[in-house]
């Protein structure tokens, strides 16, 4: 275990660093993108790159700290559970929100080039 600890620490810090980068990028995108459906891309970067990756990284760092004793397994395990929940739940939440926002016309679709979904709905191939 002793030999593995530095490796785990370095991998963990790299993952946390990736997360920090993704957060700033997603934050800028969230403020600069023009409408709701484009902002969904920024939200994806935030949830997966910015939250899922650093949580895994923190769990790996926690596994390598032996001064925490047995409780480091608690930290790592709960971290992995959080990460799995986030990986399943965050995209589904975005999907439900986007669907509801599109069909209720709550989100303004301002700079629009083409809306294929609207044509499909008009032709009756897809219903709400």
């Amino acid at each position: 275990m002793n030999l593995l600890n530095p490796v785990l620490t370095i991998i963990g810090y790299v993952l946390v660093g990736i997360g920090a980068f993704c957060q700033v990028v997603a934050g800028i995108g969230m403020n600069r993108f023009p409408n709701f459906f484009v902002r969904l891309h920024a939200a994806t970067i935030c949830t997966i790159g910015g939250s899922f990756v650093p949580i895994i990284g923190c769990s790996l760092i926690a596994l390598s700290i032996e001064e925490l004793g047995v409780t480091r397994f608690f930290l790592a395990g709960a971290g992995f559970v959080t990460a799995v929940f986030l990986l399943i739940l965050a995209p589904v939440g975005s999907h439900l929100l986007a669907k509801a926002a599109y069909f209720s016309k709550a989100a303004v679709l301002h700079p629009k080039a083409v809306d294929l979904l609207e044509e499909d709905v008009e032709r009756g191939e897809i219903r709400e």
């Binding site: 608690f74 559970v81 929940f85 399943i88 739940l89 589904v92 999907h95 439900l96 669907k99």
Partner: protein, 363 residues
């Protein structure tokens, strides 16, 4: 390095407090009610971070479901059922200024008294020393002497049930009465009987599939939070509220007709009564044992005391169970879980049925 290390949490505290102030201002001044609810959800999220950095994980575990989840959820439902905009025309300007001034004066006096009563000045804030009572509680959480200790490593749960059991008992009663009040308002109402049809009802297939995967996982997490209440942060209430999210997911993602396959209102009420009976049992079990053996014992007693020498075992086979704490957490989990299940089921009754019943009652 060391300075930076100890400074960072305080910086985050200050940032989140300031951000919450902006959110509160917008929540109170916004005319669109649903936006006001969302602003108050932002404020609650930041308060959760503040509680987290003030190292009280029990409060965070209770506060996140209550203030980020349940209250906004029920407020959103209420806004959907009632009116969406607030009409503020006609409030005179002088009235609001007078109210604002008096409220400011009151709050400043209260805040100053709070600082004075803690006997600290602004030079050392927060104070490095804890009160004597806190020291005693901390020193006796898991002590070698069972006559003084509650034999639980978690000080907060030990205080909640072992030292302040009567308070917790009446708190649960207030919760019970609130649900009974809601049931009384919704008397004569029942969920209409309809067949669940997968292609028409509920949300998209992606949402349904992920809910099928996630609901058992959530229930397992909730049970683990509840049953480890005497070892780690959490407890019966926290676990029950976490479990309540599954009910709301079933109702909102599938439909209420799908959810009633698993539990109806009457069954939920029955399970809730069983939970409350469990709480009463865990309050009186030592007294009952003492009565049967013929020795003195107290109600709400857990470990043996000096003049009442009987008590529940604090460990079974090397596993710490802390006497009645495990029993209390289990029953509280059942009671709270089913309480919120009843609430969500009541809220999902269609508005047309309700209006019909009310019309019949008024006439």
């Amino acid at each position: 390095m060391s300075d930076l290390y100890s400074l960072t949490p305080y910086v985050v505290l200050a940032v989140s407090a300031l951000a919450s102030t902006i959110a509160v201002y917008l929540a109170v001044t916004e005319k669109d009610l649903i936006k006001a609810v969302l602003y108050s959800a932002i404020q609650s999220t930041f308060y959760a971070l503040i509680f987290y950095l003030l190292v009280v994980p029990d409060i965070v575990l209770v506060y996140i479901p209550v203030a980020v989840g349940l209250l906004p959820a029920i407020l959103i439902i209420a806004v959907k059922k009632t009116e969406k905009y607030e009409d503020v025309g006609g409030v005179p300007r002088s009235t609001s200024i007078i109210v604002l001034l008096s409220v400011t004066v009151f709050t400043l006096i209260a805040g100053y008294l709070l600082v004075v009563s803690h006997a600290i000045t602004f030079d050392v804030f927060p104070s490095p020393d804890a009160r004597l009572l806190a020291k005693w509680f901390l020193a006796t959480t898991l002590w070698w002497n069972r006559l003084f200790s509650s034999m639980s490593p978690e000080a907060v749960t030990a205080i909640v049930w072992d030292y302040r059991g009567l308070d917790t008992y009446f708190e649960t009663s207030v919760m019970y009465l609130a649900i009974i009040g809601a049931l009384a308002i919704a008397r004569y109402l029942d969920i209409p009987r309809k067949e669940y049809r997968e292609d028409v009802m509920g949300m998209s297939i992606i949402g349904k599939m992920s809910a099928k995967i996630i609901v058992p996982m959530i229930i397992i997490v909730a049970i683990s939070i509840a049953l480890h209440g005497h070892l780690t942060p959490g407890g019966g209430f926290q676990g029950g509220v976490t479990g309540a999210v599954t009910v709301s997911l079933l109702i909102f993602i599938f439909s209420v007709y799908f959810a009633t396959r698993f539990f109806k209102i009457n069954i939920a009420i029955l399970l809730r009564i069983i939970g409350l009976a469990g709480i009463i049992l865990s309050a009186t079990i030592v007294a009952i044992i003492g009565f049967l053996i013929g020795q003195p014992a107290y109600i709400f007693q857990n470990q043996p005391k000096i003049i009442a020498q009987i008590g529940l075992p604090y460990e079974i086979g090397g596993n710490l169970i802390s006497g009645t704490l495990l029993l209390f957490n289990t029953s509280e989990f059942l009671a709270v879980f089913m309480g919120f299940a009843i609430l969500f089921l009541l809220l999902s009754i269609p508005e047309e049925n309700v209006l019909e019943v009310i019309k019949g009652e008024v006439e």
